[in-house]
């Protein structure tokens, strides 16, 4: 863990070498991503609610997914950008170091500009929770924290799976975006607004529903069962196949010429 924080510090050091670039990127990220939120707000000027979910409920859901996604973009950038590591041949170097490979991939890259999105997501979440009349109690606080946590975990798993895909081919990387970006866009809305088939898919195949749907129902007081409150923990199970697939792919690694 010490190594991870040390490399994080070094990445920050490296990024700050280009000061103007850093500041401009940081600002532009904020501007660009506000437009996403505007789209939702625009949508709700037309409709009162989508399948029973109001504007602020959707915004809450949206910000939680954004938080998890951006969190991984900042702190697990190496896994997000794993194809670069393979194409440029730097993965060889990681194999030569006496440390866990996934940890090293995590250390290999980070993108602090995306911190802007993290902050943004938190602000939106904050605004949304103020406008929603939440019946606050300790379980609700825990549920909200679990939602944030599981959002980070699920994207970590998905990124890892997408990274494993690079071991087999570095072509057709767009396919994996169906699951990362595509999935993200779906999950920005409460999964329940979609057709049954999608709900099953996002419950059992990629368990987005445990991140921002079932716990959301509890959080908003639409469901009372504690199972809903603690369902984000199930996302942890999702990590297991992701890690297995990654290591399985690593065995097939063929390096690049030099």
């Amino acid at each position: 863990m010490k190594i991870y924080f040390k490399s994080l510090a070094m990445h920050l050091k490296g990024e700050l070498e280009y000061r103007v670039d850093f500041i401009l990127s940081f600002l532009s990220q904020i501007l660009v991503f506000f437009t996403y939120y505007f789209i939702i707000i625009a949508l709700f000027t037309k409709f009162e609610h989508i399948k029973g979910f109001t504007l602020y409920e959707v915004l809450l859901c949206f910000s939680i997914i954004q938080f998890g996604f951006s969190f991984n973009e900042v702190f697990a950038r190496g896994i997000d950008k794993f194809d670069d590591l393979i194409i440029q041949g730097n993965f060889d170097r990681l194999l030569l170091r006496p440390r866990n490979i996934i940890l090293q991939v995590l250390c290999s890259n980070s993108d602090f500009v995306k911190v802007s999105r993290l902050i943004q997501a938190l602000i939106i979440m904050f605004i949304a929770t103020i406008h929603l009349s939440i019946d606050w109690n300790i379980t609700r606080v825990i549920t909200l924290l679990l939602m944030l946590l599981s959002s980070c975990i699920i994207f970590f798993g998905i990124f890892l799976m997408a990274a494993a895909y690079c071991f087999f081919t570095i072509q057709g990387l767009e396919v994996r975006n169906v699951f990362t970006d595509g999935g993200k866009h779906m999950a920005q809305y409460p999964i329940g607004v979609f057709q049954k088939g999608f709900v099953y898919f996002f419950t059992f195949v990629i368990p987005y529903a445990f991140v921002n749907y079932y716990p959301l129902l509890y959080f908003l007081g639409k469901k009372d069962s504690l199972f809903y409150a603690f369902s984000p923990l199930l996302v942890l199970l999702y990590l297991i196949p992701c890690i297995i697939i990654f290591y399985w792919g690593m065995k097939r690694y063929t390096s690049v010429g030099s």
């Binding site: 070094m10 050091k13 490296g14 990024e15 194999l95 030569l96 006496p98 690694y253």
Partner: protein, 326 residues
């Protein structure tokens, strides 16, 4: 059992076959043809502790692939490899602590920050005890003359400076084996010399086993007593450099300074050119030895001065490649 024991290693890659041109690119977008390329086939050799071995061969012969297998990056399709009682790709974490690898074409240093910061991180990665780390680091800084460059962001260093830092970074954990894949590529004469001298020294003092690939034969001649020649994935020659030189060095260059006129006819003299001060001869030692030549020449003329030159090692290698058709 030798320190490094490689037995019948083979590795095949699947390569996407594609003709040039946009039309072909589009075609291959939908349907791909693959061909299997045997990068290395049935490679076997053994190396003792403390040896320096030059691993040579033309581009695409399988040098890098072998290095990658030996260092545990690639898993061969078949064959065995035991190095210091470990199989590189099976005991990866334990094994890589004992080796250092320098890829001349790739950097392991962080581009935007000084090399010393990378060293500090490597210390944690390899879990080197503080005291040991400090002594090794000081020693490397002194030997490779890094005092002035270690605090400059790596991107501002020259290639030669960077390569010295690379080598230092690979040796911080005192590895028993050092793999050098084209360590002098693109370096100037002085930097090359620094790198060579340094490698020689650590091999002598620390008994570090060195496996070296290079296209610069001067690297090989100055460092390695033994070479392994590889071509099209097979080992073609494994033995001393001297023997190879004797086998292939059939030409010698003799330049004679004289004021007299020389007329000489012999099967062993391949070329005779008149120069300002005398004659340049190229002789074939299979037909005439140096002493025989001197005997004949000195009877005919007075020799003011004489110079005998070996054949360039690069020419020998070219001949060798031609002979093996690689």
């Amino acid at each position: 059992m030798s320190f490094i024991e490689v037995k019948q290693i083979s590795k095949t890659f699947r390569v996407n076959k594609k003709k040039s041109g946009l039309k072909e690119s589009i075609k291959s977008f939908f349907k791909r043809d693959f061909i299997d390329v045997k990068a290395v086939e049935d490679i076997s050799f053994s190396i003792e502790e403390g040896e320096i071995v030059g691993y040579i061969g033309p581009n695409g012969a399988g040098k890098s692939t072998t290095i990658k297998i030996l260092s545990g990056i690639l898993i061969p399709d078949s064959g065995e490899c035991v190095i210091d009682q470990m199989t590189p790709w099976k005991n990866r974490v334990k094994y890589v602590k004992k080796i250092g690898v320098v890829f001349g074409q790739r950097s392991q240093l962080w581009w935007d920050i000084p090399a010393e910061d990378t060293f500090d991180l490597l210390k944690d990665i390899y879990e080197i005890p503080e005291e040991e780390y400090q002594t090794t680091k000081e020693d490397l800084i002194y030997r490779l003359n890094l005092q002035d460059i270690i605090n400059i962001p790596v991107r501002q260093l020259s290639l030669g400076q960077r390569m010295r830092c690379e080598i230092a970074a690979s040796l911080l954990h005192n590895p028993k084996i050092l793999f050098l894949d084209e360590p002098t590529i693109g370096l100037d004469a002085v930097s090359k010399q620094v790198v060579r001298d340094f490698i020689k020294k650590i091999n002598k003092e620390k008994k570090t086993t060195v496996i070296l690939t290079s296209h610069d034969m001067a690297d090989i001649t100055s460092l390695a007593k033994r070479i392994i020649l590889i071509g099209k994935g097979h080992v073609l020659y494994d033995g001393s450099l001297k023997k190879l030189q004797n086998m292939y060095e059939t030409e010698k260059y003799v330049s004679i300074k004289t004021k007299d006129k020389l007329s000489i006819r012999n099967k062993g003299i391949k070329e005779k050119t008149k120069t300002k001060e005398g004659y340049d001869l190229i002789i074939d030692t299979r037909y005439i030895t140096i002493s025989e030549l001197l005997n004949i020449v000195s009877k005919k003329i007075t020799i003011d001065d004489i110079e005998i030159d070996h054949e360039n090692i690069d020419n020998i290698i070219v001949k060798l490649y031609e002979d093996y058709k690689i």
